[in-house]
Symmetry: C2
Subunit: 317 residues, 2 copies
């Protein structure tokens, strides 16, 4: 897509930074980083950083470091998430916890956090580094909330939005605001990038949660129904329960996570109107994200950010 082509050279430099080997780095870490990065990933966050930096006329050398830092931070959170959720596969590749010990997975994730913070420090921007730390605090707070409060049919729409903001939108928004952190921009421009990022992030996660019910498993790279198997209540399920509060299989799936109940519940939700209504919610967030960019004059990089909104809501993986 053009949003990618426009920053292709810079993305390739981000890949080099992601794979750069610290002199003191243990071979096990190197092998695991290689495996993690080989799994691919959309590099959405680096693209957001780079377009945002161009839009704000920020120093692109620094933005390349920021882009690598956010992608590595994202990767580190996935390593620990997969460990906690006992997920065997991500992006079609075995997770680290599936073929290494829990201890190795904890420490390798910590190492990636540290290396991400180091890359962030290469921007020489205290502002960006502080946002980086705050975002990780938000993500972890959200995880703890999910762990203790996310697993019941009593979850409200407000709880859900708060949770997906922490889990996904916070880092996508930080990435979108990187240009404003690295350059001096007008407050309304900084505010616009924040509004863009927050809404894009929410749209992105709602679509993720829809895909967890309806995706082609081959394309998704992992089995569907994962959230429900974890007992996690997401928007499609919330909207389904608003219409059918007493659906026995769905309630049993939320309560027990039993495979038979989960499979039945996934089918029930996937074939209901809750899917289309969830996508409508995602499209509303997407529209808010697009509208936020109106404060910027037309440019290729503004178009890049607009295109990433389309990608977030139209993707099938």
């Amino acid at each position: 897509m053009p949003a990618q082509g426009l920053v292709q050279d810079e993305l390739e430099r981000v890949e080099v930074l992601l794979r750069a080997r610290d002199p003191d780095q243990h071979e096990v870490i190197t092998a695991e980083v290689e495996r993690l990065l080989a799994g691919g990933g959309k590099r959405l966050r680096p693209m957001l950083v780079l377009h945002s930096a161009h839009l704000c006329a920020a120093d692109i050398e620094k933005a390349i470091y920021a882009a690598a830092a956010v992608e590595l931070l994202h990767t580190a959170t996935l390593v620990h998430d997969d460990l906690i959720d006992h997920s065997p596969v991500r992006r079609g590749v075995h997770t680290m916890n599936a073929h290494r010990s829990p201890g190795t997975t904890v420490i390798a994730g910590d190492y990636l956090f540290a290396r991400a913070a180091f890359l962030a420090s290469r921007t020489d921007s205290v502002r960006l580094m502080r946002r980086f730390a705050e975002t990780l605090m938000t993500i972890c707070s959200g995880e703890v909330r999910q762990m203790f409060d996310g697993h019941s049919a009593g979850v409200t729409r407000e709880d859900y939005v708060r949770r997906i903001y922490a889990k996904t939108a916070s880092l996508i928004s930080m990435s979108s605001q990187a240009g404003a952190a690295l350059a001096d921009v007008r407050p309304e421009e900084a505010g616009a990038l924040e509004k863009y990022g927050d809404n894009l992030g929410l749209a992105f996660q709602v679509v993720d949660d829809v895909l967890d019910f309806v995706a082609d498993e081959e394309i998704l790279g992992k089995p569907v129904g994962g959230d429900l198997r974890q007992g996690l209540v997401t928007l499609p399920l919330l909207l389904f329960l608003e219409e059918e509060q007493e659906h026995p299989a769905v309630l049993r799936a939320v309560d027990t996570g039993m495979p038979a109940a989960v499979n039945e519940a996934v089918s029930a939700v996937a074939s209901s109107s809750a899917i289309e209504r969830s996508l409508e919610v995602a499209r509303e967030y997407a529209e808010q994200a697009r509208a936020a960019l109106d404060v910027f004059p037309g440019s290729r990089h503004r178009d890049g950010l607009l295109e990433l909104v389309d990608f977030a809501v139209q993707r099938s993986f």
Copy 2:
């Protein structure tokens, strides 16, 4: 001790920062932070940061943030260490992994890393923040090395020093160098603080490793023999094996970690000359640390740093 009294007011402000509650912080995190800090701890690293900052005429407001940041980073690494080692008790208090799920312990540790990085950002010093990230990389690399390469009777003295540098001396040294990171000092002063911190850190960990054989368990706050139970080879054992290469119980303890063999090996090492020879190594490092400070003129804060060396080698816990 005077080293503490001299910075007592500042240490109290560090405690307030350590306990400050983020607005978005989940009650489980708050409760766990409270428990972790209530366990006490020597606050060696904050004291090092503060004396170093005074010695370098650095901004003390910033040093207080740096001191809280290093202590919280240290705490976060202990949380993950105890999880990995399945340690039930530290400083006489149940560890987080002993009364929370592994998942909660992983995320709570991550949260503490993030909050530590946030506190570091309050120094407004990119230099200090970068050192902070690099130090965490070193610590994690050391942990991975320990996990994969630290458990055999074939460990050399060089392997051991490299490992304890990563595990302990790197953060103690970073703390000792905080003043130089926060102020403009002459290169020989920066170098002196690095030499001081490296040697103090090595002395401190050697004494820790001795105490793991000979401490009063009541005062230590955990059972002795923990390293050997984990199959970890430390200096007292290395020096013991230099004299008695074929001691059956010790070799069996290293190979199997079986309780009976560990108990017998701990007794054998504890009553051998390897203890005194290990302490002699610690005293040599301590002497190097003291000598490094000769480049600074006499002052109360230089005396504070000298006193912390005495503490490191004379302590019983």
